[in-house]
């Protein structure tokens, strides 16, 4: 993937305020730009400009459902990677081929940063605190 001429942008879509706040602060330490979305409508707004490199998506945010949310992200930002972060043990079989990674909540923050770094290879490792 070609390196964008802007800081990598991550959208955190989760209906839990605390999860969003923790992820925002944890990812900000990686010099990433973090946008938040509490539901599908907010997600649509967050990815609308297409300048998104990674979407961390909870399976069950309020809205039309996971498949629609993935389609929404793919349409607005075709190159964006998608990491599903969920309390469920696995991603529904139909959506599994459409995403790039999956992790179960609660996730260790270091593990989260590693996954993000793998999904966004343009981030220099020294940016990961």
């Amino acid at each position: 993937m070609a390196a964008p001429d802007r800081p990598a942008t991550v959208v955190v879509a989760d209906d839990d305020d605390l999860v969003r706040a923790v992820l925002r602060m944890a990812l900000s330490s990686m010099s990433l730009t973090v946008r938040e979305a509490a539901d599908s409508r907010a997600l649509a707004t967050a990815v609308d400009d297409g300048a998104v490199d990674l979407t961390i998506l909870d399976i069950s945010i309020p809205g039309p459902g996971l498949a629609a949310n993935i389609a929404l992200v793919r349409k607005a930002a075709p190159h964006a990677r998608i990491l599903i972060l969920s309390g469920d043990a696995e991603v529904p079989a139909n959506e599994a081929p459409l995403i790039d990674d999956f992790a179960r909540k609660p996730i260790d923050l270091d593990e989260l940063r590693d996954r993000v770094a793998r999904l966004l290879p343009t981030i220099r490792t020294d940016e990961i605190s």
């Binding site: 209906d15 605390l18 999860v19 706040a21 923790v22 069950s60 309390g87 469920d88 609660p106």
Partner: protein
Amino acid sequence: MSSLSARAAFGGAWSTHWTIWAGLYPVTLPFVVYRDQALRPDSVWWSVGSATVQHIAVGLVVVGVGAILRRRRSILPVGLVATLWILACVVRAAVAYAVTAVGYAERSSLVIDTLIWLGISALWVPVTVFAVAQLDQRRLLLAARDITTDALLTERAEGEETSQQLQARLLATVTAQLTPVLADLQASLNAARRRITGSTAAELSMRISRVHDETAELVEGEDTPDTSPALLERAERVTFRRAFEITTVPPARMAALVTLATLVGVIPDTVRVYGPIVSLQVALAVIASGILLAALPALFAERASRGKRMTHLRATVILQAVAVAAAAVILAVIPPSVWSSAQWPVVPLTLLALALAHTLYSVAFIVADANADDSAALSAASAELDAVRGQRAERSRLARERMAQLMHGPIQGRLAACVMALNFHAEIVTSDPARAEAMLDAVLEHLQGVTGELHRLGAEAGLGDVHHP
């Protein structure tokens, strides 16, 4: 567990088992002593010794070689077992032949003895093995049926629990386990917040993480009982008394085999010992008894049709008593009576052979039939048990799915958020204490939210107030 086939019975452990070999010793002993009269041993002890040595030799062949063969496979081919039995007859005749060369006036005939033992073995050994194997199978079969029936009754009772009741029970379990832990966590967090360090936050995070995982296990876990095969493996044999609680009378069709086995067991030696006249008397007595054994079951059946059933044991004892008494009377009344003559030993031997043959064939026929019936009943009960368990598992799955939906965000999601927040708190507590403090406030608020949600769900499910410890 199915009923036992003849192939399985003859190839199984009982066909070369030492207990059957040992049990046949007191049976064969009087027959050897009886036949040896024709060879005029120096004393009866020669016959006893000969019978003992013959039996030991047979044991070496059947039990010894059988044990060696079973090291490789537990079920032997029927042909191999038959070969062992035939070999045992030859060995027995050879040993008898060798012993008569020492303490007897006349030597036995190797060929005739072999043929007689082959005839006797053909009609007595397989039925003995079959009867014992069927009886053993019956004791296990009934135990398995008891276990399955008990499990079925339990499942039926538990099957009356509706999906909603199951869901309420699950919720009660979750609530009862989570509420005190959450209260404790909040108390710990409140107590430590002024001096909370990174390691304290990490420890609290681990405790909440455990609560989160336990909640998931409670909601997603299985509550299906042990499967039937595992239970059946633990089944212990029922008592012999229980195994014989069969209300079928011995069938008429076995009378011919009882008659034949008795004739083969007694007549050849009687011809050699006492001649053809006594042999004819014995044959008549045995055949008459056989006719009675064939006719009497019809009377029992007619009695049973009027609701007066009798157990297999009682029917066997009555039939046997009548048959033995008839044979004894016939041997007494047909002139010349053998009772008061020097040929009297033929009487107890004949009656013993008749009783033994009737007992063995009766057990073999009746128990095999009963096993077939009970095996079918067990299969039906197992199928019903599987069906009931399947229905219950489906209800459980639906209830757990609904539970998972209820618990997912409000409970598990918040707990997960708390874990992640406390981990982050541990990272920033020294570098950004103000933000860490705000993070703790959010965690406490979340834990209170979880407690409140549990109370709400409990109230909706009609569990009443869930008390804090």
